[in-house]
């Protein structure tokens, strides 16, 4: 029932993303149908696909990382992997001069993977919330600063203007080729994570119980870290780092799965897609007369939820 509601919400949002603002599209179509079709296929379609795919990726990787770390605050942005991916892509694109989308995706994946490995080294496997947050904060601040520095010192004098896109995320003017470069590896990695649902659910009662049931916590950890890094790295290399979706979508998804962390992956994908698409629609349709960075919208909407989550955890820790 709830999945049906989510799926229909996604259909409505998808239609809205393709067709709104309706008046402008209608006018364009009346003047030149070919141009109207081009706008739909080459501007709106990649943007829509990226919003859906990146949102779903953030939801799935967030849910998988939360299940792995046994911590409802783990997510691609809070663990620093989104910032690591952005730094990797910036280093590849502006310093090594690579422009092939696939090469940039590789750089993003490597950056995300390094950030996650660094996090595991700093915070340990099942870190308490404070250690995980501090280690993730340190990594994302350092990676964010290094991204800005790389852009400021990059050979191209205009590179610095792109820093908003890398640090706040943007889905504007991406080509279909860029969309497929980000989304095909992301979809494969997310499929891999979805196939690990039973193992991630077995981790709900701790690594020892999972191990006694024949799951291999070490192997699950490696797989989740690598698959999350690949998925997030590919998306960030095209769209930049977008915060909060990977944190909020799994938290909401677990309310639909009775708290079970593994089986929350699917609903987290649907919720992540719906949230990012809504955020992108807001940046496009809000009557402010200017373009608002995507990350500003997700952070504005996400911060209250994040604070609510912190208060809930505090209440639980100090009854």
């Amino acid at each position: 029932m709830i999945r049906a509601v989510l799926a229909s919400a996604l259909v409505v949002l998808t239609t809205a993303a393709m067709l709104l603002p309706w008046a402008a599209l209608q006018e364009l179509w009346q003047r030149d149908p070919a141009l109207g079709a081009t706008v739909l296929l080459e501007l709106r379609l990649p943007r829509l696909l990226l919003a859906l795919g990146y949102g779903a990726t953030l939801g799935i990787t967030g849910a998988a990382l939360q299940a792995l770390f046994a911590n409802p605050l783990a997510s691609p942005d809070i663990t620093g992997s989104s910032s690591g991916a952005a730094l990797g892509a910036v280093a590849g694109g502006y310093w090594l001069g690579w422009s092939q989308p696939l090469a940039l995706a590789g750089c993003g994946m490597a950056g995300a993977l390094l950030a996650l490995i660094l996090l595991l080294a700093l915070a340990g496997r099942r870190a308490d919330t404070a250690t995980l947050l501090l280690a993730g904060l340190a990594i994302s601040l350092a990676a964010g600063a290094m991204t800005s520095l790389s852009l400021a010192l990059a050979p191209s004098p205009f590179a610095f203007y792109d820093s908003f896109d890398w640090l706040m995320g943007s889905l504007v003017d991406r080509s279909l080729e860029q969309a497929t470069t980000a989304l095909i590896p992301a979809a494969l990695a997310c499929g891999w994570l979805l196939a690990r649902t039973p193992s991630l659910d077995a981790l709900a009662l701790g690594e020892d119980v999972a191990g006694s049931l024949g799951h291999h916590p070490e192997r699950i950890r490696r797989e989740v870290v690598v698959a999350s890094a690949l998925a997030v790295g590919a998306c960030v290399s095209v769209c930049g780092a977008v915060g909060f979706i990977g944190l909020i979508a799994p938290v909401l998804a677990r309310r639909l799965t009775g708290g079970h962390p593994g089986r929350a992956l699917w609903p987290a994908a649907l919720l992540g897609a719906a949230l990012l698409l809504s955020a992108d629609l807001l940046t496009r349709l809000a009557p402010l007369g200017r373009t608002i960075p995507l990350g500003v919208v997700t952070a504005t909407l996400g911060t209250p939820l994040f604070l609510w989550l912190l208060l809930r955890m505090r209440w639980r820790l100090a009854p």
Binding site: A204, L205, D208, L213, G214, H260
Partner: protein
């Protein structure tokens, strides 16, 4: 007759020296030893969680080759930690012990552990002792051949200490066995057999009565049992 559990030279690097152990069906065995002596390492090794070397067979089946569903039928491991991160209802946590949904078995365990008023509350909001009962119910759910329970009596009030002992005794039938680690040696007489672990070695294996009078016990625990416990020295 082959024993229910047959462990061949199981070891955990740095914590448990190669240990061979057999448990017969129908026996309730206590595992005792001072803090850090290797009780938990032995239980984890037997449960297949962490094993540097050696092999474990339960009811003739090699544990390493058993599928997750099969493992639920062969053994249950109750770790000493009572932490659960996720807001899963107590009823759902108990169901995690079953390989296929069985609401009547879950209801039976809810009654057995008197969890009726707590069954639909998220376990992360329960007290430690209440959560201990939920996790014990999870371990008992699949009626496994072997129960490996790490300190099931800690965090419990006196009523639940006695009830838990009775429940574990009842769970040990003619074709099942249990290995239970504990700290309160006054419960030893309720066990069929006791194993003392010290510095990663099983140093003594015998009846609870032999255990209570053995010098090895004094050596390991540095306390002497008279009319009351007294520090040795």
């Amino acid at each position: 007759m082959t024993p229910l559990l047959e462990a061949q030279a199981v070891s955990v690097s740095g914590r448990l020296e190669p240990t061979s152990l057999q448990l017969g069906a129908g026996t309730l065995t206590a595992l005792i030893g001072p803090n850090g002596s290797g009780k938990t390492s032995l239980l984890r090794a037997l449960a297949g969680v962490e094993l540097t070397s050696g092999s474990v067979r339960i009811a003739g089946e090699s544990l390493g080759q058993a599928s997750p569903a099969r493992r639920r039928a062969l053994l249950s491991f109750l770790p000493a930690s009572r932490d659960v991160t996720w807001p899963i209802s107590a009823r759902d946590v108990i169901a995690l012990g079953l390989s296929s949904p069985d609401p009547s078995r879950v209801a039976e365990l809810v009654d057995l552990l008197e969890l009726g008023s707590l069954a639909d509350r998220p376990v992360d909001r329960l007290s430690t002792g209440e959560r201990a009962r939920v996790l014990l119910a999870r371990a008992l759910a699949s009626k496994p051949r072997l129960l490996l329970l790490d300190e099931p009596l800690s965090n419990l009030d006196p009523y639940w200490v006695l009830r838990t002992l009775a429940l574990v005794q009842a769970a040990v039938g003619s074709d099942t066995a249990a290995l239970v680690s504990l700290h309160d040696l006054s419960h030893l007489p309720q066990f069929d057999r006791a194993i003392l672990v010290h510095r990663g070695w099983p140093v003594l294996d015998g009846s609870p009565e032999q255990m209570r009078t053995s010098p090895a016990l004094v050596d390991a625990f540095r306390v002497r049992l008279g009319s009351d416990w007294r520090i040795e020295g």
